[in-house]
Every structure is written in C-alpha cells, then in structure tokens.
C-alpha cells in the first residue's frame, strides 16, 4: 500500500469539497474493493475520504414510490431490512447473496454501484428496477448510469448519496456464482411493473450489466416461464474466460432467467 491522507468529513458538502479539490482523492465506502486494490498497489490515491461518518448517507426509508437506500448502507442491512423486504423482496435477497458475511457487513450499495464491476449483483437490480441513482449533484436514471466495464456516469468527485427504487409488482433474482470468486457468472434480475417487464443481466456481458430487451418484451406480453422457454441469448457480446465460454454464459443467463421467473411465478 502506498501512503495516503485519511479524511473523515461529517457532511456531504465537506466530502464533496475535498474530492473536487483533489482529483487524485478517492471516496472510501466499505473498502471491500478499494482496500484490496490499494494493498496490491494497483492504485495510489492521494487521500481517502471516508464517507462512513456522514449520517445522511446511511439508512433505508420507505418513499411514496418505493424504497430509498442510502449510499453507505451495508449489504447486510439491505438484506435484513423489513422495508426493503416489504417493497422489493428480491432486492433484499440479492443483497444477501453478495460475497460472504464479512463482505456484506462492510460493503455498501453506493460503493458497489460506483465501482460497477461487470460481475457485481446490484447493477442488475438497479437496471431492471429502473432505479434512480442520486448524487450530490443530480439524479441519474439507471439506463444512463452504467457505461461499461467499471465505468459509470459519475463525474470526477461526484458522490452517490442514495438510490431510489420504485416499487414493482413482481421481481426476482437468480445468480449463478463464479466457482472461484463467487461473483456472478450470470445474474438475472426480472422486474415487472404494470407497464412493462425489464430483465437485466450481470456477470455475462463483455461491457457489464445490460438489459435483455428481447426477454423483457416477450415477458411484457406473457409473464410466464413457458413464454421464454425457446428464447436464447446471443453469445457474441458475452464474456469468455477460464470459467466459461460466451456460449456457456448465454446458457446460464437463460437458466437464471427461468429460475428468477420461477421464484416469482411459483
């Protein structure tokens, strides 16, 4: 690890000020991604701005549209939240599938989204649920937020403050874990509102999370496992590596879609 300054502001504005003044400074949330990166000397920030003492960033509250989750809310708290479970049970389930207990007790939703790992779980929920990522500067719709591998719409120094999830009629998530890392090899989140069905796939795409529009379209007219039984995902834009070919990931996405649907439709 290289040396860095450590700051722990108690207000969003103070954190934003430090981060804007120094492009080499980095926000620190749960540290589950950032700290291993630092330990391996893969990053050399001048300062870490610890967001953990900013009260507005944590916590979950019910909203008229659904549920709002503060950026610093730990995965374990989302998994255990009655409010989340009441509004979108699949979201609580998803949070409970991330990493292991230690990771869930430290890792945060804001950190996960800002990091935008192509195999992370939350991006699938945010995209399928069409959630809104709220920052210290603006609100960003899910479809605009994810921009590719580890890339988001966030500007230099911009801080995620919370994520607003709209309540949906039905939602389900199924994840096939990478045998080594336990991140998603294919994670499929299905969300049904009165107007439409959105299906998001994480873990499989070459450029990160994506909407499986074909699946969404079919399910919008016929919300059943049978409706998608003949559907296949085109592997040409999927990842291929040691753990599986693009074809295998396409297969997994298909199976996870069925399982996510089965978990909803019974």
């Amino acid at each position: 690890m290289y040396a860095f300054d450590y700051q722990r502001p108690d207000a969003i504005a103070a954190a934003a000020a430090i981060l804007s003044a120094d492009p080499e400074a980095k926000a620190l949330a749960g540290g589950q991604t950032l700290l291993p990166t630092l330990k391996q000397r893969l990053a050399q920030p001048t300062a870490l701005v610890d967001l953990s003492r900013i009260p507005e960033l944590s916590g979950i509250c019910a909203t008229t549209e659904g549920v709002s989750i503060g950026a610093m809310t730990r995965h374990a708290d989302v998994a255990a939240s009655e409010l989340v479970r009441a509004a979108i049970p699949a979201l609580a389930d998803l949070a409970g599938m991330i990493g292991d207990v230690a990771v869930r007790n430290r890792g945060t939703i804001g950190g996960s989204l800002a990091n935008d790992d192509p195999t992370a779980d939350y991006p699938a929920a945010v995209l399928a649920l069409n959630a809104t990522v709220v920052t210290d500067r603006r609100s960003i719709g899910a479809s605009d937020f994810f921009r590719g591998l580890f890339e988001t719409a966030l500007k230099e120094g911009e801080i995620i403050t919370r994520v607003d999830f709209p309540k949906v009629e039905k939602a389900g998530y199924a994840k096939f874990r990478n045998p080594a890392s336990r991140y998603a090899m294919a994670g499929v989140f299905v969300a049904k509102t009165a107007a439409e069905v959105r299906v998001a796939v994480t873990g499989a795409g070459q450029s990160g999370v994506f909407l499986w529009t074909e699946a969404g379209d079919i399910l919008s007219s016929d919300f059943s496992v049978q409706a998608v039984s003949g559907l296949a995902l085109d592997p040409s834009n999927l990842m291929s590596d040691l753990h599986g070919s693009a074809e295998y990931r396409a297969q997994l996405a298909k199976v996870m879609l069925k399982r996510a649907l089965a978990s909803i439709t019974g």
Binding site: M1, Y2, A3, Q40, R41, F176, P179, A180, S181, L242, H243, G244, S245, Y248, Q251, L252, V255
Partner: protein, 792 residues
C-alpha cells in the same frame, strides 16, 4: 468425545481433543511472521514478469539510493560469495543409465529467468513498503525468449536449461518391459486411457515466511522459517548452498500453518534471507503474500499419461503399461524427481494382483513454477490413473466395477508387486464390502431413476486406493537415489518430577502431534497427558530429524518415540529394582507403577523418576543418573494404508453443476492412536481430493503467465461445496512398526479424485471427463450427451 480425559491417562485409541487448538484458536500461536528480531530489515523480491528471458543487465543504482534501502542483492552477489545452487536431493537415472539433467538453480537468477515469479534480485529496506518501492526502481533488461508453458509440446520448445536438450530432465522406466509386452501379446482384451492429472497450487493457509539472523559474535546464523523439516533445510543450506556449517546454523520452524508438502522444500527466499543477514548485518525478514504463494510455491501433480491395461478372457488383469510425461516446472525442486518416479510408478499395482507392469516417465522442464510433492505426491497420480482405467475396463467388459475389482484384488500377504513394493498387510475385500454396504450400492439404480425424474443425471463411482507411507527403510530409498535416510529420531526426557518432554524430528503443521505424541507417552508411562510436552521444529533442541511428509510422522516418528520409551522403561526398571530391593527381572511396569511381581510392593513412575535424578538408591558406577533416552528408528518397510471410497453425485445438465450427494470413505490405517484426529485428516484430504476433481487447476497462458494467480480465479473448495462425509474403518495391523499404524494424512487426497470422476463419467455416460470438472466443462459434456441421445 473425551475432553475430560485430558488430565488423566489417555489410552491409545481415545479421541482426545487437540492440546494445541486452544493456542491456535485464541490467536496465541507463534508463526514466523509473528516474530520480529531487533534491528530487523525487510526483504522484497524482484521477480521475473516473464516466463523465459535472458537477463542482459541489472541496474540497482537508483533502487539503492531510494529512502530506507539497506541493500539490493543479485545473483552476481551470490556468485561472489561462492554460494551453491538450490538442489534436488533425489538422483534419478534415465533408461540409458545417464544421471538426470539438473539445471542450475541459483537462489537469485544469474543468466536467465525461467518462470514468472523467478527470483531476480532482493531489495532489503527499513520497511516492507520501502523495499517494495525500491523493487520497482531496480532496472532489469531482459531479452525475451519463447515461453515453454505447454507440457504436451514442451520437448519441442525453446531449450530452458543448457544441460537438458529437448527440455528433458530424465527418461526413466520401471518394471519388466518384456514380460509386460508378452502379457499384452496374449491379452484377450485391452483397455486404454489418456489422462491429464491437473496441476494444483498447495494453498497452505499460512504463506511461506523467513527471518534470517546473523550473530557476528558467535559467527552463527539463525533461520526462522515455515518448514516441514527444519533439519533437512539446515542440511541443504549447509552442505549444498554452503551458507554455514551445521553447527553454526540453527533452523527454527515454529508454528506452521499447513504445508501439504509445499513447505518441505528449500526455497530461494529463506536461502537469501539467511545469507543476506550476514551481508547487511541485520536480521532480514520476508513474508510471502498470497500472490507470491501462487507464483512461487512448488505446485503439485501435472501429468499427461497414456496407459493400457491387458486382461485375459476371464477378466483378470495380466498387464499394465504406462507412459507418463511429468511436468517439473522450471527447476528441479528439492524432492521433485522422486515424485513422478518412486512415489508414483511403485504404486501402479494398486490393490490388484498384476503380474506385469511397465512404466515409462519422461520428466520435462517447462517455464512454469517448479512442481514437487503435494499431499499424496505421486500416489494420487498413480491412483487416479489406475482407478480410472480399472473402472473403464470394467465398464467396457459390461461388468460391475466393484466385481471387477474384487476379482483382481490381492488377497494374500505379503505380496510382492512387479514395481518394487512388497505389501505387508491388508484386506481389500473387507473395505470394498463395507464401503458398498455403507454407500447402499445396491440401492443406486432406484436413486438414479429418482434423479432422472427430476431432470438430473446421477452417477456412482468407486476408488480402491493404496498408498505407501513412511517412505523407508533408509537403505532401500538410498538404493533408489534418495540423498537422505528416511528414519526418524526421538528423545524422551523425563524430568525429576516425573513429567516428560518428548523431542521429535517430526514436525507438526496441522497434524496434531502435540496431542497424539503426548497421548502415546501418557498411555505408555501412565502419566496424565498434560504432563507431556512435545518439542519439535528447532535444530538446537532436537538433534536431527527428517520432518513430516508422506504420512510418516505416525508410522516412523511415533515408532522412534516407542523405541526411546522402551529404553526409558528399561532403565527405570533397573532403578526401581534397586529401590524395591528386588531383582530387575521381577519388576513389572503397568499403569504407571513399578511392581515387584506377585507382591504389593510398588512405586509410582514419578518416584522412580525423582530417584533417577537424586541417585541415592542405586550404584552410579552401574547405572548412570538421570532418565533421558534417545532413539533413531528406521522402519523395515513402507506402510500400506488402503481403502475404498465411493462417491455418488448428481449433475444438473442445465448448468453443469455437480452436487456430491454422498461420499463414503472406508479406510484401513492399521491401529489408530486418536480417531478424531484421523477423521480430521481424512476429511481434509477428501476436501482437497474433491477440490482437484471438480474445482482446482493451475492455468498458465501460452506466454507462461499465471492465469490462476488469485482466489478470484483459482477455485478452492469451500465447506458449502462438500457433503457431510461418511467415514469408516476396517483394520489390519501394520506388521512393520511397533505400533501397527500405517498413516492417514494423504489417503483422502489420493482416494477421492478417481471416486468423483468415476461417478461423473458414470453420470455423463462418457469416459472423457477432465479434471477439474468445472460446471462449464460438465455442461459442455452434458450438452454433447444430450445431442448424442437425441440423434440416436
């Protein structure tokens, strides 16, 4: 079961809780990295980023000027000081009689680097971070050479060592070629198989570490290191590397967090830390991180084999022919040459009466990390091969694999195999029968039908393994090329107050010696187990020893303790006779008391011990004062644990996920000292065996870069991946050591992989299932199966 037992005498066979666990679990263990020496500096190694390159030039000027840097040392400095290379201590001769081609292996590279992670220079600095910073400033000019990363084509690749044309270290053979050819000539049926035994990373929970220290007053070195055999480390560093004479080099292996073989070897890092300590006049500490462990701990397995099994009309195996290419990696590690030879081919008879066996092994260099012993070491490779081909042969005959095995089992002992080993005892039918019963083998078809109804493919697979433990006797291994003897030493020191210290040359790094060895002494001397301390891992305390590997600590290490205890008892009887004014021949020792036979006159062990030291009641001209005896024990044979494992599993054809439904292990380890510890060893071994079968595999890309360099890509088995094992025993006493024990440390890792793959091939209806059978591979095979079935 018996926690309460710990303050009383503990019989052999009691499941005593491990004495060492309280220390480990409460964080009070003392591992090498827990130690800090006054004035210590930190070492960080500059490692090769390339698989194969010539070093044109190293410029450390800038690095030496960096803050906190004490020194930067390279291979040139080693050469200046006249230090010898790291060695491989087992000489193998090729078929043509020529000695193996041992490529030069300096602790810091000289002309060339030969794998990613090879040691180029060491930076020593006030802090680890400063050492790392400066390491980046060491300028190394490389001339890239083609990598030789693929074992199958390595003999046609760029030559890695000047002394080894076609990258071949040796081409060795074992067995009777003519007799084997003759058997194949008259065979009614031949089954053949092509097998890859996947390469594994050892993954001890504690990474390797070392602290070297030099005392200029005594002109003596001390090395703290994560070693399974500190005395062998001292011997090699002294006699071959030439750091210091043995009397000026103390090696301490304190608590060590697992080894699985990987800490047997003498590596560059501890060599450099010891040597550098004198050079820089400071203690030098190095602690490997996990990435360095993946890169530079010796890996295991990595064979490509073609084999054929000849049978007569009635299904008797009459011949076995094997050709193996074994990956040695970039250098011959400490015992590397013995693994694919004498620890492999000698086991190719397995549990079967095979009249003729012929095995050829080509040991090949590649530009990858060195390959050496890993839990089982050669025996898992032999067992996997044999148990796969036997299973395949039975299936090709349309015969129940259990019955095919039964017909071919060795049924009388001793049994001389055609590949050196003479099995002394065993009952293979007994373990097979028990395993079949416990696994409800008969009920399998019904369970398979049930799985099929749920859209799953179910399979069952057997493995009847044998292993050779103890690696002995010394004269025998010497005649096969071992550079060392493989006996063990022990010393039993009885203190005046009757408690005992046992000094052993074995080394515990997870095996629980502090408990089992103490249990042995407690039972024998009739004193409570907590009055027995086990001392190991320090060359200043224990005179010499061969360390722990090859499941030898029970059979060999404990036997040495028994011998020392025999001497203690004999002397104590003499003293007791004087104290009781009886003749020595009338003294009986039982339950911790010396009794004059047929009387009620007796003395407690502690009374005799005290008297041995005060020496008031016996003539010291006849009997020396004190009660301390040592012994060196050389076994008369290897020991031959054996057993039968049965794995039953289910494949989800949609995803390729394999779920192990049951795993039965019936083992014959001879006499058992502590069944709880034995079970623990079996569980861990099976876990690693299942890991090899389904999850683990070291992968290099064609440039020789390590793809599986972290747990993000190298799949370790986790508790959730494993079923609850059903473990049972059968027992035949081992006739070649006083305790009748055979060893149990590796059995699980040896028996499990073929059981799993036999079950998987059974489920998938094809013999072609590679290890690790990851979900993606299994899915592809299940897909092919489905299309095949659809076409039919």
């Amino acid at each position: 079961m018996n926690a309460s037992v710990s303050s009383s005498v503990t019989p052999i066979g009691a499941a005593v809780r491990r004495k060492e666990d309280h220390r480990f679990i409460t964080g009070k263990g003392r591992y090498t990295d827990d130690m800090d020496r006054p004035g210590q500096a930190y070492a960080y190694f500059v490692r090769s980023p390339y698989a194969h390159a010539r070093i044109r030039h190293i410029d450390a000027t800038a690095a030496k000027a960096m803050p906190g840097v004490v020194d930067v040392l390279t291979g040139a400095d080693l050469a200046t000081d006249g230090l010898g290379d790291l060695i491989c201590g087992w000489m193998i001769h090729s078929k043509d009689g020529s000695p193996m081609k041992m490529g030069s292996h300096p602790a810091l590279a000289k002309e060339k680097v030969r794998y990613v992670g090879d040691h180029v220079a060491v930076v020593i600095a006030e802090t680890l971070n400063q050492a790392k910073d400066a390491a980046l400033a060491v300028e190394v000019e490389y001339e890239l050479l083609p990598a030789v990363a693929d074992l199958a084509t390595a003999t046609d690749g760029e030559q890695i060592h000047e002394c080894a044309p076609r990258n071949t270290a040796f081409e060795w053979e074992l067995g009777d070629k003519a007799a084997t050819e003759a058997a194949f000539a008259r065979a009614a049926k031949v089954t053949s198989i092509d097998i890859v035994n996947n390469r594994l990373a050892p993954n001890a929970i504690e990474p390797r570490a070392a602290i070297g220290e030099y005392d200029s007053g005594d002109e003596a070195f001390t090395l703290w290191t994560t070693s399974q055999n500190p005395h062998v480390a001292r011997l090699v560093l002294s006699a071959f590397v030439g750091i210091a004479p043995e009397n000026k080099l103390r090696v301490i292996a304190p608590d060590v967090g697992g080894g699985f073989g990987s800490k047997i070897f003498i590596y560059a890092e501890e060599t450099v830390c010891t040597w550098a300590a004198k050079k820089v006049g400071r203690p030098v500490k190095w602690t490997g991180d996990r990435s360095e462990a993946f890169l530079s701990d010796a890996h295991g397995r990595d064979h490509i084999t073609h084999a054929e099994l000849a049978m007569d009309e009635a299904g008797h195996i009459i011949g076995f022919r094997v050709h193996t290419r074994a990956n040695m990696g970039a250098y011959l590690s400490t015992f590397a040459s013995s693994i694919p030879t004498y620890l492999y081919a000698t086991l190719l008879s397995g549990q079967y009466a095979i009249p003729a066996i012929y095995c050829e092994v080509d040991a090949v260099y590649t530009t990858t990390a060195p390959v050496d012993a890993y839990r089982g070491a050669g025996r898992p490779e032999a067992t996997f091969l044999l148990e796969r081909i036997v299973e395949k042969a039975a299936r090709e005959r349309g015969e129940d694999p259990a019955e095919f095995r039964r017909r071919n089992f060795i049924k009388s002992f001793p049994h001389q195999t055609p590949v050196i080993m003479c099995y002394d005892a065993g009952d293979y039918v007994a373990s097979l029968d028990k395993a079949l019963e416990v696994a409800d083998y008969k009920g399998f078809p019904a369970r398979r039908a049930e799985s099929e109804r749920n859209g799953k493919l179910r399979g069952i697979g057997l493995s009847a393994y044998i292993e050779a433990c103890g690696i002995a006797p010394s004269a025998a291994v010497g005649s096969l090329g071992a550079g060392v003897g493989l006996w063990e030493s022990a010393e039993v020191r009885v203190n005046p107050t009757g408690n005992v210290e046992v000094l052993t040359g074995s080394h515990s790094h997870g095996q629980g010696h502090e408990t089992t060895f103490a249990q042995l002494v407690s039972a024998r001397l009739g004193i409570p187990i907590d009055q027995v301390s086990v001392v190991h891992g320090d060359t200043d305390k224990v005179q010499f020893g061969m360390g722990t590997y090859g499941s030898r600590s029970g059979a060999v290490g404990m036997s040495a303790i028994v011998k020392a205890l025999d001497k203690v008892e004999a002397k104590a009887k003499k003293i007791a006779a004087h104290m009781l004014e009886a003749s020595e021949g009338d003294i009986e020792f039982k339950d911790g008391r010396f009794t004059v036979a047929g009387t009620d006159r007796s003395l407690a062990f502690a009374e005799v011990a005290l008297n041995a030291y005060v020496a008031h009641k016996f003539p010291t001209s006849e009997i020396e004062p004190g009660l301390k005896e040592g012994a060196f024990y050389d076994p008369t044979n290897f020991t031959f644990p054996a057993g039968c494992h049965i794995c039953e599993l289910e494949v989800d054809p949609e995803t390729g996920v394999v779920e192990i439904k049951s795993f039965v292990a019936i083992d014959d380890f001879g006499e058992i000292i502590n069944p709880m510890i034995v079970e623990g060893q079996v569980h861990g071994g099976i876990g690693q065996g299942i890991g090899q079968a389904l999850m683990e595999g070291v992968t290099y890309d064609e440039d020789g870069q390590l793809v599986t360099g972290s747990y993000m890509d190298y799949t370790m088995p986790r508790a959730g991946d494993l079923p609850s094992f059903t473990v049972g025993m059968t027992q035949t006493r081992c006739p070649s050591n006083p305790l009748g024990i055979k060893g149990c440390g590796e059995a699980g890792a040896i028996g499990a992989p073929p059981a799993v793959i036999n079950a998987l091939t059974n489920a998938l209806g094809t013999e072609d299932v590679p290890m690790p059978a990851t979900p993606s591979r299994v899915w592809a095979i299940a897909q092919a199966r489905a299309s095949r079935l659809a076409a039919e």
